[in-house]
Symmetry: C2
Subunit: 160 residues, 2 copies
DNA sequence: ACTATATAGTTTGACATCAAACCAAAGGAG
DNA sequence: CTCCTTTGGTTTGATGTCAAACTATATAGT
């Protein structure tokens, strides 16, 4: 009982927890604000999750499996099934069987998908411009490695 | 065409945008991972949003209006209506009319709510302990002001 | 070769959240 | 006092996401 209060490590731990909590709290709210902004600005009622998948494939190449995409965004397989099928319905991606593995599929960008991605970027640009102008981006860059580290840690310990 | 490439400011802006994008990407994934972890660990099928509201009231005092809560967490009024009514159904909060304003209500913690909050903290502690032990929390603390700044900016410019 | 386990994807049911439309009380302008 | 606008809250309809159960293919152990 008293030991808990006297143990300096215990106290430090408690304080650490508080900071960790604050950190995640800020992260959560930023995510909420940015997600909503993006969603409001994206054309044709598309959701940021759809855009993210297209963006990922544009940047890193298409022809990936749905599972690889799910992993990249840390969503469940079921969620990615849903996302991909929506993109497919809109004609932004094409899903083909994977010749190398009968269980899996491969997702490819279509021309329509690339066009849409460009127009989405277009409609996000004003917002990103303002952000890039009014926020000290150097600070963000400094912060990035820490975020990556945290992400990596959480990723490794996902069963925690 | 060539101008775009030669203009140093234009290029810097593009690079900045990329970083901003990366930043939000990391934030989004961290949020997803942490949210899922919390949700899995919270008792009685409660969601992190419910816990957050209780936690907020424990830390900063209860007797707030639903709208104030919605603002604090950057969710819509409708969402907060839903969250509060769930908490009410569970008996964790009590909603009373606001004598000072016939339109609004006030949300108070119940004993059950406080008890639940304690047990929720309990079930989150192991996870936070590991985090606090294995992540360099000093780095998180350094990062916090930047996150707050970004949050503040987004908050101010919510109509962007 | 045969069975068991692991993996890719889908489906299901529940739920949080959003935007927008809506209702009711408050405050102001005339 | 009366209308108009603002503000707190609810409702509605759609959608994204999760966890868990399920199907089908692939891989491994014996």
């Amino acid at each position: 009982m008293a030991a808990r209060c006297k143990d300096p490590k215990g106290l430090a731990l408690k304080e650490k927890q508080k900071r960790v909590f604050q950190f995640f709290n800020e992260v959560g709210i930023i995510q909420q604000l940015v997600g909503n902004m993006f969603n409001r600005r994206l054309p044709e009622g598309l959701h940021v999750s759809h855009f993210s998948v297209l963006n990922h494939m544009i940047r890193l190449g298409d022809g990936r499996t749905p599972l690889a995409l799910a992993d990249a965004f840390q969503v469940t397989k079921g969620t990615m099934t849903h996302t991909v099928s929506t993109l497919e319905k809109r004609g932004f991606v094409e899903v083909r069987p994977n010749a190398a593995d009968g269980r899996s599929k491969l997702v490819f960008l279509t021309d329509a998908g690339r066009t849409f991605h460009a127009s989405a970027i277009e409609s996000l640009t004003p917002m990103l411009d303002i952000l890039g102008r009014e926020i000290d981006v150097d600070k963000l860059i400094e912060v990035l490695p820490v975020l990556k580290e945290v992400r990596q840690f959480l990723d490794d310990r996902r069963d925690m």
